[in-house]
Amino acid sequence: MAGESVLEGLASVPRVRNPLIWSHVRVKRRLRHSDLNMTPIMNLLVILIPFLLVSVSFVELAVVHSALSEISAAPGEELKASLIVEITANGYGISSRSVDLKYLVNEGKKRAGSGSLTVTRHNRLKLQQMLRNVKRFFPEEREISIAPQADIPYQLVVRTMDAVREYRDGKDITPLFPNIAFIKIRKALPKP
């Protein structure tokens, strides 16, 4: 009986909501229903992506070093290769200012002379093979001169520079003659 009277007493007490608890609940409810506002991020992305698309370069640029030739062999110096690769419409001509290259490749011995090598149809692999042969006898030599004819297109000149600069075997790169200089060969006019 006593318990019943207590309950009745409680029922008569007016129910007061605790404002602190209720504000907490409201915040929780609001958080549950509100999504993250993506609009600023979207705005940023829409501006950033066209900017990057315009300025991005999908091609990788690089440079090939070159110079104008100043190679000159001092008299009495050790026999140097001082190679010259001439690019003509028919192919390549490899010569040396002091070494007989034909004798060197055929006999495997150095001797002074002017024997030269030729590669037809701009076969760069063959050119590279010959230069590797020469490099075996002159491992310290790094200079080479390239003498393209006046009408040779620049692309062929650059490809030739690639071939004489280094030899690539998969990921292995062996330098051949990386110091490249251009020269112009002036053909001597025939004597009258």
Partner: protein, 161 residues
């Protein structure tokens, strides 16, 4: 009773229409992927090096990074110094009267003025020539610029490995 149901249904419908915007999540995913890809490909080092659109650079196996120097562009229409036309060409050919002179006088004068004006300090020239350019034109540019003290030349190419 029916009226109550109708009102309730209308409110629910209104709510669902208010809440249903376009689903942006897939678009966001896509944009984030594109952004990451572009940021990865974006290279600051090439800023200012990009050749003009009508100039097709040669391909090369070189991987040497390019740097910014005095840029000489050689196109079918002419020779340009820092995008200013210096010497007009007719399909890569020099005017007839210049055939015999190895030095390009106008290019020489413009570069000389720039050097005297303190606009050029390095002694390296960056040559951005079209892949079809005959070597003779490149040779003349090199000879001209070299007479003004440029010792080293960098030939800009597109990596092709």
């Amino acid at each position: 009773m029916n009226r109550r149901r109708f009102r309730r249904a209308t409110i629910l419908k209104k709510r669902s229409v208010e809440g249903a915007g376009p689903n942006l999540t897939p678009m966001m995913d896509m944009l984030v992927i594109v952004l990451v890809f572009l940021l990865k490909s974006f290279s600051v080092s090439y800023v200012g090096l990009k050749p003009p659109a009508d100039l097709e650079l040669p391909l090369s196996t070189s991987q040497e990074p390019a740097a910014r120097f005095l840029a000489v562009d050689i196109k079918a229409s002419g020779i340009y110094l820092e995008k200013d036309l210096v010497q007009p060409l007719a399909q890569f050919q020099l005017p007839g009267k210049m055939e015999r002179d190895e030095r390009l006088v106008r290019l020489y004068q413009v570069v000389k003025n720039k050097i005297e004006g303190g606009q050029i300090e390095s002694t390296t020239a960056l040559i951005r020539a079209d892949r079809e350019t005959p070597f003779d034109v490149i040779w003349r540019v090199m000879v001209t610029v070299r007479q003004l003290g440029f010792e080293e030349f960098q030939n800009l190419v597109i990596q092709d490995i």
